[in-house]
Homo-oligomer: 189 residues x 2
């Protein structure tokens, strides 16, 4: 997606450890017009699929998922990372290791919001090692739903997550794939 790549080059910044910071427009401050174009693009890429629900994970996936959902006209469910007194006791769970935060946490979705046989599209902001996506796929499997595909805004192509998901035969659509970071410059696949 050309508009997105241009924006990453213009406003993204690089940090130690191959961190691509896009918090000026994607995951801290949010450019709503760009998000809307991203939502349209996801719809175009999954136009031939039957999708009943979009599944994402708090927090930064939520904004992207709900704007995209307007184009799919389906509900969004977001997996919760934190224990809350208000969360159902009856949940599907999976363990996810976060490299960014260097800890393992449990993600949960109430059993009431994933019904057997539903076709689920996963949407998230980043895909690097793929741990969050794997956790969501695990939850979809536990709910006996179908993972129709995974839509990612920025994939770090030099990390393993994307290939692992593709090898499972799951349709993965990443709107920008960063192939490498070369002397402080982002090279797209």
């Amino acid at each position: 997606m050309e508009l997105l790549k241009q924006r990453i080059v213009k406003d993204g910044t690089l940090r130690e450890g191959n961190v691509i910071k896009v918090d000026s427009f994607l995951n801290h401050q949010i450019d709503i017009d760009l998000l809307n174009e991203i939502g349209k693009e996801f719809k175009a890429r999954f136009a031939s699929e039957k999708i009943d629900k979009i599944l994402t994970i708090e927090a930064s996936g939520i904004a992207i998922a709900v704007i995209a959902a307007q184009h799919f006209r389906v509900p969004v469910v977001f997996a919760k990372k934190t224990d809350s007194k208000n969360l159902d006791e009856n949940t599907y769970e999976s363990s996810v290791y976060s490299y960014t935060k260097d800890k393992t946490y449990t993600i949960r979705v109430s059993k009431r919001y994933l019904n057997e046989g539903e076709n689920i599209l996963i949407i998230d902001d980043f895909l690097a090692n793929g741990k969050a996506a794997e956790g969501l796929i695990d939850i979809i499997d536990k709910a006996k739903c179908n993972t129709v595909g995974v839509g990612i805004v920025i994939e770090k192509g030099f990390q393993k997550g994307g290939d692992k998901i593709r090898k499972q035969g799951i349709k993965l659509e990443s709107l920008a794939i960063v192939e490498s970071i070369n002397n402080g410059e982002i090279v797209f696949r």
Copy 2:
């Protein structure tokens, strides 16, 4: 907002400790069409105000804020609750006590996304004791921005948050105010 109140009565459930669960349409599974009506309503209620940005807090405020932002045509910034390697070191901070989770946490907004003099509308899903809203107002003050108003989907009118904010002279618009919970029935103000 009549549509919202009807939905709360139809699909909301009550839990011990005056907890109103609306996770089937607002903060776990999300009904996008309802959210869009909520966004329109916020725009109508703050139509006369000049608003530069919407500020919310992760996680459940994000969905509401970004859909509302489409009607205001402004960016969204969401305060972060968790430490992340990817967060700017240069942040405005405030401490917030959560009754739901029974702990105090630090909320943070990068200094780059609140510029002196900007007019900020706070949007969140719930207002009960008002601790999260107070934390956001504190951050807006620290950034020398103006709190134009606070837009809340569901206010628990029997708790203190709403009155505290109104007494400060801040325009607070709650789309549904629960006055009391009476023998398992929700009474709106």
